[in-house]
């Protein structure tokens, strides 16, 4: 028969000061881990959820970012009417030539500036993206220097609310609407009319073409092969989802930081758990002797102390998870290394991440408890009883 768990809980309660201090130490480590990982996860989730698997993105050959890619108007003409591109009911091909321009805007709190992506887009482009929702105002009208801004950008940059105007270069853009895009990377963009953007930003080319091919995989494969082999075209075709997936690498340094910090900090916390458990063992030497006399085996003692350490750590882990929870959904931003522009996203704490935090606490508990539990189990019965 194992030593009842109640015994461990009572012991933790009796030495509550020490228990609390150790628990809090573990809690803080778990909280830091969960928070940093939630940052990385939110950033990754933004890119993973962006793009429609049915769409293909056309960029200039060798280009890694839409913002620095160039597609000539001639290329646009050639690509638009290729076989294999789906058409709408009016017979218009579902191909959207777009331009992405980086502009520097003041932050809302006026602490500085950051680059934001302006996407020049047309009606077809809007139709190819299904998860866009206008939540305020109306869509822009071409020719009037109007734009719609994502909710996240509106919350982070100055003069981006409906009715306000912001200046870029010599042009004033009037914000006429706010959109949401289901937490995708589009939520870090400002949208304007494509031809107007080319005119204002002096681009005689486009940046990319988003196309929707027909639903026939074989036909699509031949189309892509033909496009990439065409001597007149110097382009690269890839699924829209893949383009965004590649950008999840932006989260790598954050993940790295989280991992290193968590490991080093957890070593410190495991030491503190070990200290606590050693103190517990030495204070209860007599009790250990008594338990042995009552018929509990060495392995029972061993398991009991190990369990106590694990309980201590798991309590700490749970508190740590609770500490981190208020951060869930909090908006923040960083720079994308692909486009050199601000990407706005949210901390994302998932049940899986909390489980990881708890697993982390468990490891700290086991590491902290192993040696003290062994010490407790090895105490000779008589010596233990004799000790003061």
């Amino acid at each position: 028969m194992a030593v009842p768990l109640k015994y461990n809980f009572r012991n933790l309660r009796v030495r509550w000061r020490l228990t609390l201090a150790t628990m809090l130490g573990i809690a803080l480590v778990v909280a830091v881990f969960v928070m940093i990982m939630a940052l990385a996860r939110g950033l990754k989730a933004t890119y993973v959820s962006t793009g429609d698997p049915r769409n293909l993105l056309v960029l200039r050959k060798g280009s890694t970012a839409e913002s620095s890619s160039q597609i000539t108007r001639n290329e646009v003409r050639l690509i638009k009417y290729l076989d294999g591109i789906a058409r709408d009911t009016d017979g218009e091909p579902l191909a959207s030539a777009e331009i992405l321009v980086l502009i520097n805007l003041d932050r809302l709190d006026r602490t500085g500036t950051a680059n934001v992506l302006v996407r020049g887009i047309g009606p077809v482009g809007l139709r190819l993206r299904t998860n866009i929702r206008l939540v305020e105002g109306r869509m822009f009208r071409p020719g009037l220097h109007e734009c719609v801004v994502s909710r996240k950008i509106a919350n982070r940059f100055a003069n981006c609310r409906v009715g306000e105007q912001f200046r870029s270069g010599r042009t004033l853009w009037r914000v006429v609407g706010i959109f949401e895009a289901a937490k995708t990377a589009y939520e870090s963009e400002i949208w304007v009319d494509a031809d107007e953007a080319r005119d204002v930003f002096k681009r005689n080319f486009y940046g990319s073409i988003l196309i929707r091919p027909v639903e026939d995989t074989a036909a699509v494969a031949t189309m892509i092969k033909r496009m990439e082999a065409d001597k007149q075209l110097s382009i690269r075709v890839l699924p829209e989802t893949e383009y965004y997936l590649e950008q999840t690498k932006t989260a790598a340094p954050i993940q790295w930081l989280g991992g290193v910090l968590a490991v080093v900090m957890s070593i410190g916390a495991a030491f503190s758990a070990m200290n606590t458990m050693y103190a517990a063992v030495s204070a209860r030497t007599r009790e250990i002797g008594t338990l042995r006399v009552l018929g509990f085996r060495r392995r029972h003692i061993y398991v009991s102390f190990l369990l106590e350490s694990v309980i201590l750590a798991l309590l700490g882990g749970a508190v740590g998870c609770l500490f981190s929870l208020p951060l869930n959904g909090m908006a923040t931003g960083t720079m994308s290394w692909t486009t050199f522009s601000e990407v706005a996203f949210e901390f994302r704490i998932t049940p899986e991440l909390l489980m990881k935090g708890m697993a982390f606490a468990l490891v700290m508990g086991v590491l902290g408890g192993l040696l003290p539990a062994r010490l407790a189990a090895r105490k000779p019965v008589l010596d233990a009883l004799r000790s003061a």
Partner: protein
């Protein structure tokens, strides 16, 4: 037995506990030092007398917009301008996107004037100037890929539609970021069909006093043209980049305070464990005539000793550790160019040690207070 001997004996009475606590203090202060170093590297770009003379002009809309090359001659005519150099971010791929290092197309003949703090070999530079398809590379990138002078490399353009084939003709060391590659702007223009565009202009002012007026005059010169400029000091230019990464200060600052807080928690509980099991001895000390303050200073000395040893091990460990790391790891490559020097400064070590001092003081307060207040009789009654 002397007083210091007595304190030492007490400190070492439970060696295991001492070691565990010491190690966790060491680790915490090590982390603290490393994080502060990272923060410093990100938020305080190195400022030298030379870099203080440099200003950068970019397109007003954003760095993503390019400027016409014809701006250069107009900038050069502005009084106070010593040299004006085109500098364009090439952003090409060498073999694999993972092999990232910064590449710039520049006016080859002006690079030694602009980056005058870097050490260029005059003979090598002469060879670099003569060969249009030549490049000059920082020592760290040379070492990273094991390149030698005379090697040929190809960069695949991602922003500019050309793939320059370059011959390494010169190496530079010191002063500026040692991971850059510079090549002839003319060569890039030629390959890309002479677009007559460039990313930025780097300007060396004749003296520091001229800079504010210079910045204003450059921007005024191009106001209301198709390509307006925004000119700022090199330092402001770099800081703007850093600010875009996010609120690094808040992130690292809060992690550091969590670390310090956890460390205080751990050490304070160790100290109270250590003092509580000694309450009988403390009562005896009191009985033979030690007063509360003397006992307090004994406990304080012990906790100070613990904290300071941890501080020395942690902070100097980080100092030594980063130095050691530098001998074997190319930190710029590992961190994708984010960290270049990663230098632990005396200032950071001192602040780490100050935290150790505070730690020593704070962690003994609670146990010392209770043991001073405790009466001799209660203390003697304690069993364990």
């Amino acid at each position: 037995m002397t007083i210091p001997g007595f304190i030492l004996r007490n400190a070492f009475r439970n060696k295991r506990r001492l070691m565990l606590t010491l190690l966790s203090v060491t680790l915490s202060l090590f982390l603290f030092t490393m994080l502060q170093t990272a923060l410093r590297e990100l938020t305080q770009p190195a400022q030298t007398d030379e870099s203080a003379l440099r200003v950068v002009a970019r397109h007003k809309v954003s760095l993503g917009n390019v400027l016409p090359v014809k701006h250069q001659s107009r900038i050069e005519r502005i009084p106070g301008v010593h040299t004006c150099m085109k500098l364009t971010w090439f952003g090409g791929i060498y073999k694999d996107p993972k092999d990232f290092f910064p590449q710039f197309a520049v006016d080859a003949d002006k690079i030694t004037d602009i980056f005058s703090e870097a050490q260029f070999d005059p003979q090598e530079m002469a060879a670099f100037l003569k060969d249009r398809a030549a490049c000059v590379v920082g020592i760290k990138t040379m070492d990273r890929f094991g390149w030698k002078i005379g090697d040929k490399i190809t960069l695949q353009g991602t922003i500019w539609p050309c793939d320059p084939q370059l011959t390494i003709r010169a190496v530079y060391r010191g002063g500026i970021d040692e991971t850059n590659l510079f090549f002839h702007h003319e060569y890039m223009d030629e390959l890309c069909g002479k677009p007559s565009l460039c990313g930025t202009f780097w300007i060396r002012a004749e003296n520091a006093e001229a800079i504010p007026g210079l910045i204003q005059r450059i921007d005024e010169t191009f106001a209301n043209t198709d390509a307006e400029t925004k000119t700022e000091t090199e330092r402001a230019f770099v800081l703007e980049f850093v600010s875009m990464i996010g609120n690094v200060k808040v992130l690292i600052g809060s992690i550091c305070s969590v670390i310090v807080f956890t460390m205080i928690l751990v050490t304070a509980s160790t100290m109270s464990m250590a003092i509580r099991e000694r309450s009988r001895e403390i009562a005896i000390l009191k009985a033979i005539g030690y007063d509360g303050w003397q006992i307090f200073s004994l406990i304080l000395a012990e906790s100070f000793g613990l904290a300071l040893t941890g501080g020395v091990l942690g902070c100097f460990g980080a100092w030594f550790g980063t130095w050691l790391m530098f001998q074997h790891v190319n930190i710029a490559a590992v961190s994708n160019g984010m960290f270049i020097k990663f230098e632990v400064t005396p200032h950071i070590v001192v602040s780490g040690m100050l935290i150790a001092v505070v730690l020593g003081l704070v962690s003994c307060l609670a146990p010392a207070y209770s043991s001073i207040r405790m009466s001799v009789v209660t203390g003697l009654k304690e069993l364990d």
